[in-house]
Symmetry: C2
Subunit: 198 residues, 2 copies
């Protein structure tokens, strides 16, 4: 226990070192992996996790201060979820390209300005997933281009109403709530964004 | 596209119905599942996902307004992460019991008051995980009881410093950032908590 002190920066006493790695199952979408690791105390342990290609998520704001949202049925949790537009990186795809592609495909919006706000690690206990968060503005609506078998509703909502939905548990998606944190900080002038033309 | 309107509440046009389910791999920790579903357009599709027992996460505040945090090496993402105390539900375990157990085991703190703040869905694309968020206060420090092979640092930090760490990307764990959202709202008086004695 360290009381009120900051966390130590040297973490060699926490580090786990890989010894061996094997694929338990190669699915169409998910790869289940089991690695043997050396623990800080010298003992061995196994680590099961899912390999994920990474993803991008977009906080797109309209000129009149509304946020672009989706409602999508998510089978693993068995319910329709409110979430920000997001999608997996294609092989070799740059995160910004993925963000722009997913926003257009899923919502029909193109954005003139983009700003990188940072990354999230989504499920650190059992997934390699890294999620790149972009803010987007200067939206122009075009036709959306959903993947075959993809069904989702798109809507826009004033920021205050979106935050009320988060507060009232009408939004429970962790990535969307994590982005709501950054949205609050950006609205409070505490997050400086470096806007770039698309 | 629905423009500025609210999302519709009837989502039958989004719903996916299970047709068949099979276990691709039963690991020690993770079970990989593949279900066949009926899409809204009548076609079939497969859904791969991980079965998870659910978990609890604790936002524990000391009497002098500090937050209890952990630094833990997370093998799937290959780095030491700053995160709130959290852990998986044991079979049949109530979320509050899990929250109290994990806080004590991992950090050595017992809390006199607890408040349920809601749930998060962690990785809705490929996991069933539901995470229950509790606020805790009235902390008393005892000895922690880490599981065999569990290594983590515990520290406390003033709320403002924790939020600065979130803003500066020293915190990138999605569940912790989602909880930081609720912390901001609670601090702003926008989240009413129903405190109960332990």
């Amino acid at each position: 226990m360290q009381g009120a002190k900051m966390a130590p920066m040297n973490d060699s006493h926490l580090h786990e070192t890989p010894i061996a790695s094997r694929t338990l199952h190669q699915g169409n979408f998910l790869t289940l992996q089991c690695d043997t690791v050396r623990l800080p105390n010298g003992q061995e342990a196994s680590r099961e996790y899912v390999r994920h290609p990474g993803a991008a998520v977009v906080l797109a704001l309209t000129d009149d201060g509304q946020i672009v949202l989706e409602r999508q049925f998510r089978y693993p949790v068995g319910r329709t979820m409110v979430e920000l537009p997001a999608g997996k990186l294609d092989a070799g795809e740059a995160p910004l390209h993925c963000a722009q592609r997913e926003l257009l495909e899923e919502t029909g919006y193109r954005a003139a300005q983009w700003a990188y706000a940072g990354l999230l690690h989504l499920a650190i206990g059992y997934s390699t997933e890294v999620l790149h968060l972009y803010f987007a503005q200067g939206l122009q609506q075009q036709a959306r281009q959903l993947d075959e078998g993809e069904f989702l509703d798109v809507y826009t909502q004033p920021i205050a109403a979106f935050l009320q939905d988060c507060d009232a548990q009408r939004v429970t998606d962790a990535k969307t709530l994590a982005c709501a944190y950054y949205l609050l900080r950006q609205q409070a002038g505490l997050l400086s964004l470096d806007w770039q033309a698309a």
